[in-house]
């Protein structure tokens, strides 16, 4: 009875491992495809590729997660995984907030300078000539 249960849980564990590896591989391929289509910049892609690799390593190297979690004094290895994932995601979000703030500031400066230059250019041009802004506004 006990042997059967152990066997069953081992099968589940293997299935889980396969699933994790499959997901990681899918993420890897998807990210790779996004970069190929120039939809995702390499510097952000690296993060996700790295995360996928970590997943694969953890799935293949069974003892690693257990060892890390016992070193950290976490009873259930999966909790160590959750904790690490959570920290990773929060750090990433903070990083994105920083990037967004910087981009907003930059786009504000660009918009202001564009508007001021636009005013200056249309000021210098005689009104009967076609204005570049009229062309671009189409």
């Amino acid at each position: 009875m006990i042997a059967v249960a152990a066997h069953a849980s081992q099968t589940t564990a293997t299935l889980q491992r396969v699933a994790v590896i499959a997901i990681a591989v899918l993420v890897f391929l998807f990210v790779f495809e996004l970069v190929r289509r120039r939809a995702l910049m390499e510097r952000y892609a690296l993060l996700w590729l790295f995360a996928a690799i970590v997943l694969v390593v953890l799935a293949l190297w069974q003892g690693l997660l257990t060892r890390i979690s016992s070193e950290l004094g976490i009873y259930t290895p999966v909790n160590a995984l959750f904790a690490a994932g959570f920290v990773f995601v929060v750090t990433l979000l903070l990083h994105f907030s920083l990037v967004i703030s910087r981009l907003s500031e930059q786009s504000k400066l660009l918009a202001q300078r564009l508007a001021l230059l636009d005013e200056r250019v249309s000021d210098e041009q005689p009104s009967d000539e076609p204005q570049p802004s009229a062309v671009s506004k189409r």
Binding site: E105, Q112, R113, L114, A115, L116, D118, E119
Partner: protein, 246 residues
Amino acid sequence: MNRHLAIVPAHNELGAIATTIAEIRAAAPDFDVLVIDDGSTDETAAAAASAGARVVSLPFNLGVGAAVQCGYIYARAHGYEIAVQVDGDGQHDPRDIPRLLEVMHGDPHTHLVTGSRFLEHGNGHRSTASRRVGIALFARLVSALTAQQVTDPTSGFRMTDRVGIELFARDYPSDYPEVEAIVLAHTYALHTREIAVQMRARTSGRSKISASLSGYYLAKVLLAVLVSSLRSHPQGKAGPLSEAAP
């Protein structure tokens, strides 16, 4: 060219912009009028231009803070000595501009003069009760932080001189900037004053603070004000990009 500039931020103010410009030109003829069209989707820019204002059109809506700052960058680049902000929606009465100027010239230490609704109890347009409570809260906070009496920190009816123009061209808060701008001016040791004005009900457009002084606004401004008062050596957060005047 005049040495004085009226900065008029306008976002979809087609109904009021021409009147506002005409009023400024009548009440303060020695002011050039610059309308910052903040990504309007209506014909605000064209209406402003045909009313005789210079128009700077932002390519998309940046918010009143960035629009006003754009005006200050313009003022700095063109060497204006005095700049006054007048809302494009008809709330501010341009006939008060000469009085603001008088106070500005009356005291060489004053760099920023604000038109306040609450300095005297006039019978002008009153805002809603919740908004008045919020304004009173900010007034206390800002007065405490700046050690100066500030009764109407949310008023966008402001005049400043070359010192203020250069400061605001370099660094001006975004979103709902009035309260923060006063604290910012104080951080740079600019002496500010208020005079009593009456504000009118807006004749067009909608309030920029539509959910007037909502929790978000309150929290955001509180944070900004506190952080800005903690900056011991404030720097233009914009960096070198904004330094280059067009």
